[in-house]
């Protein structure tokens, strides 16, 4: 079956513009995660969705970042008024169940965002 997909694979934007990144999780997976990976660093947790529960937004770095998920399907991560420090690879993952770190997360290929 299909894995986690993300689009676009690459995005170059100018400082101050808004961008929207998309994630299609594996069908049937109830949990969805967004991470950010800056060059030479590990993955930083951004946000977590689990079913119809309120998302955990504790990892979002500023109010310029927001994310939505419709039911148990597509999620979009929006960055408003992009800054150069937002340049990174944004990774999406999904898992069949949520709530426990032992539930395997399946990752998409990421979106590489470059802010000029």
């Amino acid at each position: 079956g299909a894995g986690v997909s993300q689009s676009p694979s690459n995005k170059v934007t100018e400082k101050g513009k808004d961008v929207e990144l998309r994630c299609d999780p594996i069908s049937g997976h109830t949990a969805l995660y967004w991470y950010r990976q800056r060059l030479g660093q590990g993955l930083e947790f951004l946000i977590y969705f689990q079913g119809n529960s309120a998302p955990d937004k504790s990892g979002l770095p500023s109010d310029r970042f927001s994310a939505e998920r419709t039911g148990e399907s597509v999620s979009t991560l929006t960055i408003q008024r992009t800054q150069q420090e937002d340049s990174a690879v944004y990774l999406c993952a999904s898992s069949l169940l949520g709530g426990m770190t032992e539930n395997e997360q399946f990752f998409g290929p990421g979106t590489r965002l470059t802010v000029l």
Binding site: G3, V4, G40, G99, Q105, F107
Partner: protein, 114 residues
């Protein structure tokens, strides 16, 4: 809070040589431990994990890792590497107490040369 340290940003080795990728963690609570691998132009894939039981865990492609609680380490080893093992390897920890957040290390790039 938890943290993960991968001291080696890059490890070059020759094909068929043994390799060890180091991972140390700190945590005030019990954790699960994971190694993820990212092959060129692909997403991260789970390589192996320690949840409980035997402290030595193995992957299907010959990697193994041993959980050492006293040294707070989870080093990844392979006795003989292949060119196809060239990839970036990430160590991660997750709390056992019903938390979904994984804390990742900065990654180690394994470069296997012929």
């Amino acid at each position: 809070a938890q943290s993960v340290t991968q001291l080696d940003s890059q490890v070059p080795v020759f094909e068929e040589a043994p390799v060890e990728l180091r991972c140390n963690y700190s945590s005030s609570v019990s954790v699960y431990l994971f190694w993820y691998v990212q092959y060129p132009n692909q997403g991260l894939q789970l390589l192996l994990k320690y949840l409980s039981g035997s402290t030595l865990v193995e992957s299907i492609n010959g990697f193994e890792a041993e959980f050492n609680k006293s040294q707070t380490s989870f080093h990844l080893r392979k006795p003989s590497v292949h060119i196809s093992d060239t990839a970036e390897y990430f160590c991660a920890v997750g709390r056992m107490d019903s938390s979904y957040k994984l804390i990742f290390g900065s990654g180690t790039r394994l470069l296997v040369r012929p």
